[in-house]
């Protein structure tokens, strides 16, 4: 069994309550951090751990923290990004639902390390049940003297609030999130200045994903060096993977980074293979924004070596033959799924969620949705495929925030790897309405789950 740091006690009854959470060793990190460590020492531990932002960008968390400006007399803020909306990603909801105190504990330690006395957890508005869970957990922590004035008698004060969003994917982008928290439309800001210099209310601010903040707890408990021993290379620690699509056992799994992709998909410890005895056609490995890969390139590099679940391994080969770990939203497509239809679905999503600030994204996402709709519904021409390629090229890199890139990459990768399926839709418009293109030559036919040896 792989080591679990975040979900170790997920099945313990009552782990959502403070009492049981403490019984299982909860809030040790708060005691240790506030009573025995200085803020600088905590930042140092997080740096040593090699923890990288778990929201998708993978930027080293300790380094992000060390960029925080500390001008005299100006408040600093920690804002937790719980606006989980990336299609394929549902780990933060899971963590907040079942172990809310893991996030609260991480928030206390992180706020102390950053010198913040007011911190916010920005939760997407649709997660009202999770907002209620977090508010209850905060009340419990406050009653136990873990939040509020003079925490555990150390003289450190912290107020923690939960802020609901209003339903907008773009608010997962950190500057859009800050705008939203200020009560405005979620339009991303032009950077620089980065939030570390001028964030919430113009004050120095750190924005971190739920999972990143929760990971600070084991890092403080066991030390950054211990955490860095888990994983592979610069992908240290454990990662929550949200597995969805046509899998036998979809769900949230905590893996040690470096697990072979094949083992993740086919072993019984994880997803248990493809549902209904079908074969794997393609995957999106890190949330809808990352390139889609055919099954053969998902499992192996172009040179035949096995691909691993890590930041580096998933991006091996660049966009030509690789993808990204992203937020860890792993979506599996079986042989009956239509790549064109799914790409159209994703494009509709990005069109709907574009904030409208930058023309390439506002207009381009609409164009892509329309062209893909046309091809999917049997009215496309060969020129449309080239036009689609052209439009995505003109969005990528030309927008204030990464939503433009995120909209372009799924389209680019779908055409790159599955062009024959697009052409089939054009050549066989009638047939494409009633049947699927199928597996074609996208996958090494894997008939059944290979035997995986116990480590």
């Amino acid at each position: 069994m792989a080591r679990k740091l975040l979900l170790e006690h997920i099945n313990v009854p009552g782990i959502n309550t403070l009492a049981v959470y403490r019984e299982k060793g909860g809030y040790r990190a708060v005691e240790k951090a506030l009573k025995t460590l200085t803020p600088e020492e905590i930042v140092e531990e997080v740096k040593k751990s090699g923890l990288r932002g778990r929201g998708g960008a993978g930027f080293p968390t300790g380094m992000k923290w060390s960029f925080l400006a500390k001008p005299e007399g100006v408040p600093r803020y920690l804002v937790c990004n719980a606006d989980e909306s990336e299609p394929g990603t549902f780990k933060d909801r899971y963590l907040m639902t079942h172990i809310p105190h893991a996030l609260i504990e991480g928030m206390i330690v992180s706020s102390f390390a950053l010198g913040a006395n007011t911190s916010y957890i920005y939760v997407r508005g649709e997660m009202m049940p999770q907002i209620r869970i977090l508010e209850r957990a905060i009340e419990e922590a406050k009653a136990a003297g873990l939040l509020g004035k003079n925490i555990l008698g150390t003289g450190y004060d912290l107020e923690l609030y939960v802020q609901p969003g209003g339903g907008a994917y773009i608010c997962g982008e950190e500057t859009a999130l800050l705008e939203s928290l200020e009560g405005k439309r979620g339009n991303p800001r032009i950077k620089p200045p980065f939030p570390a210099i001028a964030g919430l209310y113009g004050c120095p601010t750190v924005v971190n994903n739920v999972e990143s903040i929760a990971a600070v707890v084991p890092i403080i408990n066991d030390g950054g060096d211990e955490y860095a021993k888990i994983g592979i290379g610069r992908s240290t620690g454990t990662k929550l993977i949200s597995a969805s699509g046509n899998l036998v056992k979809p769900g949230v799994y905590e893996i040690e980074l470096g697990l072979p992709v094949e083992e993740f998909i086919y072993s019984d410890e994880y997803c248990g293979g493809i549902a209904n005895g079908k074969r794997l056609k393609a995957t999106v490995a890190g949330g809808s924004s990352v390139p889609v890969l055919p099954a053969n390139l998902t499992l192996k590099y172009a040179n035949g070596d096995p691909r691993l679940m890590s930041y580096e391994s998933l991006s091996e080969g660049g966009f030509a033959t690789g993808t990204m770990l992203g937020s860890g939203g792993f979506i599996a497509f079986d042989e009956d799924q239509c790549i064109v239809r799914n790409t159209w679905n994703f494009s509709r999503f990005y069109h709907h969620e574009s904030c409208g600030q930058c023309s390439p994204c506002r207009e381009g996402t609409g164009w892509m949705e329309k062209i893909l709709h046309k091809i999917e519904h049997g009215h496309g021409s060969m020129e449309d495929i080239d036009l689609l390629w052209d439009v995505q090229r003109k969005i990528e890199g030309n927008t204030i925030c990464p939503l433009g890139d995120a909209a372009a990459w799924p389209v680019a990768s779908a055409i790159r790897h599955f062009r024959d399926e697009f052409e089939w839709h054009v050549k066989e418009p009638m047939k494409s309405q009633s049947t699927n293109y199928g597996l074609a030559n996208y996958a090494n036919p894997i008939e059944k789950a290979p035997v995986v040896e116990e480590k």
């Binding site: 394929g88 933060d92 007011t118 009560g183 046509n246 809808s288 979506i331």
Partner: protein, 170 residues
């Protein structure tokens, strides 16, 4: 689109205003506008939608311009600018849910309720619409119902029938 006609003046109860006061305290002095999104959720939970007169009152309460409220309410998808049914079934229509049958569920709901997406049933009880990813992809298809945003996972046609029948009986 803002619906200006047919809107009645609204009164905020003292209980609602007390909740407003509680929320505004979360932010530093002079940053009360931060309370806008949570306040609009409370207004919608109370009245079923965010009407223009209600938004004007929120603006007045926060000491900001009405347009600052309109632009926010029209930007975020959760705020209804038109009256809806008592129960709004919001079904996830994004990729991973579609891989496991969300489109069939939406077709079924449309047939069962007899109204198109966004419309209200004659008895005023139900509306439905497709929404973007609800972050529950491994448990799809899923739907949510406000204002509590109760969540229903692993939907089948039978479970949707059961849910609608139960809500009718309420």
């Amino acid at each position: 689109m803002l619906k200006v006609e047919e809107t009645q003046p609204v009164e905020f109860s003292s209980a609602l205003l007390a909740k407003f006061d509680e929320i505004v305290k979360r932010y530093p002095e002079g940053k009360q506008k931060s309370a806008l999104l949570p306040l609009l959720h409370l207004v919608q939970a109370e009245f079923g939608w965010t009407s223009v007169p209600a938004m004007d009152k929120v603006a007045e309460y926060l000491n900001i311009q009405s347009i600052e409220v309109y632009e926010v309410a029209s930007f975020y998808t959760m705020y209804f600018l038109q009256p809806k049914g008592k129960y709004v079934l919001e079904v996830c229509r994004t990729g991973p849910c579609c891989l496991v049958g969300a489109e069939k569920i939406m077709d079924h709901i449309e047939k069962k309720l007899g109204v198109k997406e966004g419309e209200v049933t004659e008895d005023g009880l139900f509306s439905w619409r497709g929404v973007e990813c609800l972050a529950a992809c491994g448990f799809g298809p899923v739907l949510q119902i406000g204002p509590e945003y109760t969540f229903y996972e692993n939907l089948t046609e039978q479970s949707v029938d059961q849910l609608i029948d139960d809500l009718r009986k309420k």
